[in-house]
């Protein structure tokens, strides 16, 4: 048996100095790749993730196309250098599964029926991983979709909550995810009040689950505000620089 690691100390402070109900610092940016139709980048704590969207475009191979709506194809991939031990670049069982759950979290947010017979291709590349990459992946992917001008019902914000050392904590990092008791990732569309992804790993009582779920929703709402700000920032920056130049004259 390995030695038990203390995740929350006697003052209620976590390994990275956060309080139990605090998010990691998040940095969001859109339009980072010039060759993609839409792209976004997120830094959430030590997580660094890039997302690129291509499409709607012709489906290849052709037989995958649907006559009544677009298909969303999603690839979640971790770079070999994204974790402590080198990860094989080939898609693992875990990555295939995460690609599926991320796709299913985003599908209800997109008006796929507006562009039948096309595909929207989404690539999520994890450059550095520190726990909660599936939720950060959903967050950044929905920004990339919005940047590509794809019609959406809402932005999707995602965040995890869980249990570590008896505390219900928000936005677990890698060590809390591995050593903690439970992990509840949630993807949420705040304007529609709809949940697109809900998973649970570990053990929680029904009361604890409810607390963790509600905490994760609160986290999603905070992230949603950051997403809206990040989307507008790119265009407001141009507007401000133009207005400044006018004022100087």
């Amino acid at each position: 048996m390995s030695k038990k690691i203390q995740l929350v100390d006697e003052n209620g402070i976590r390994t990275d100095g956060r309080r139990p109900k605090e998010l990691r610092p998040i940095k969001l940016e859109i339009g980072v790749l010039s060759n993609a139709d839409g792209s976004a980048y997120i830094e959430q704590g030590k997580n660094k993730i890039l997302a690129a969207v291509y499409g709607p475009r012709e489906v290849h191979p052709r037989h995958l196309a649907l006559p009544d709506r677009a298909i969303l194809r999603c690839r979640y991939h971790m770079a070999p250098f994204s974790v402590q031990e080198r990860k094989s670049p080939a898609p693992s069982r875990r990555e295939v599964e995460l690609s599926k759950v991320i796709r299913e979290a985003l599908e209800p947010a997109i008006f796929l029926e507006l562009t039948p017979r096309t595909s929207i291709d989404l690539f999520i590349e994890v450059l550095q991983a520190d726990g909660g990459t599936r939720t950060a992946g959903v967050t950044v992917a929905s920004l990339a979709l919005a940047d590509a001008g794809i019609p959406m019902r809402d932005l999707v914000a995602a965040c995890a909550a869980g249990k570590a050392d008896g505390y219900i904590v928000l936005d677990l990092n890698d060590i809390e995810d591995k050593e903690g008791t439970a992990d509840v990732p949630v993807a949420y569309m705040p304007s529609l009040n709809a949940v697109g992804l809900l998973q649970m790993d570990g053990q929680l009582t029904p009361e604890e689950f409810e607390e963790a779920f509600n905490l994760a929703l609160e986290g999603c709402k905070k992230i949603y505000e950051l997403q809206k700000k990040a989307l507008k920032e790119k265009y407001l920056a141009i507007k401000e620089s133009v207005e400044e130049a006018v004022e100087e004259k």
């Binding site: 139709d37 839409g38 499409g55 709607p56 475009r57 012709e58 006559p67 947010a109 008006f111 562009t115 039948p116 017979r117 096309t118 919005a146 940047d147 590509a148 001008g149 794809i150 019609p151 959406m152 019902r153 809402d154 932005l155 569309m189 705040p190 304007s191 529609l192 997403q227 809206k228 989307l231 507008k232 265009y235 407001l236 141009i238 507007k239 133009v242 207005e243 006018v246």
Partner: protein, 230 residues
């Protein structure tokens, strides 16, 4: 019947724009009596209609649109054309030549070859089948001179301006022929490369600053400044 934003405010997908007796216009959708945005853009309240002017979109063909396309494939009875849209367009041989088309006699690659750029018009499109094009009208056909630049199709209305105000200024000030394809591809042809260069710079500037006000004056100013330097 409250509205939740001012005209020309920036909105993101999922923003609640208005509630009550309103109609959902472009880039918006309605659930019960609530109107939401479905794209990043500037909101526009016009009477009972709520629109969002998108900041980035892809091109969906519509009948009558002028488009610039590239030949990507030659088939038995026509060509496949990339028109910078989710759908590849078809140009039938009968829409390109003025006499009845005979596959055993006419060689399609002699009329238009792969890689050729054409100016065309959309004559049919309904999403269940690929759009059809024609080049049998004056001003349409193969483009042999000038330059093509690509902008986001969302910025095309801004480049044309209200009743063509912006594009007319551009044409006059740069002495270039400018034809704007609705699909985001613009054909610029001037008397010399310098004129074309200035026109390209101006179009790029409009694309970048499309969502700001007072743009027309700044474009005129920029062009005269570029002229002075050159």
């Amino acid at each position: 019947m409250p509205v939740f934003f001012e005209n020309r405010d920036m909105v993101t997908p999922g923003d609640l724009l208005a509630e009550g007796d309103f109609m959902a216009g472009r880039n918006t959708y309605k659930i019960d009596s609530k109107i939401y945005a479905c794209k990043l853009g500037l909101v526009e309240y016009k009477g009972k209609t709520v629109n969002v002017v998108a900041l980035n979109t892809f091109y969906i063909p519509s009948v009558g649109d002028l488009v610039v396309g590239k030949i990507v494939e030659i088939n038995l009875h026509g060509w496949t054309v990339d028109i910078n849209s989710p759908y590849l367009a078809t140009l039938r041989a009968s829409e390109a030549i003025n006499k009845p088309y005979k596959p055993q006699k006419d060689e399609l690659s002699e009329i238009l070859d792969i890689g050729d750029i054409i100016m065309a018009k959309v004559i049919a499109f309904d999403r269940t089948r690929d759009p059809l094009l024609t080049i049998r009208e004056p001003g349409l056909g193969k483009i042999t001179r000038g330059q093509i630049i690509k902008v986001s199709p969302a910025k095309i209305p801004r480049i044309i301006g209200r009743k063509g105000s912006m594009i007319n200024i551009l044409k006059k000030e740069t002495h270039c022929n400018i034809t704007v394809g609705q699909n985001g591809l613009i054909h610029i042809y001037g008397r010399n490369p310098e004129d074309e260069h200035i026109a390209i710079l101006a179009v790029k500037k409009i694309e970048l600053e499309a969502h700001t006000s007072g743009l027309t004056d700044r474009i005129t100013e920029m062009i005269s400044k570029e002229r002075g330097d050159g």
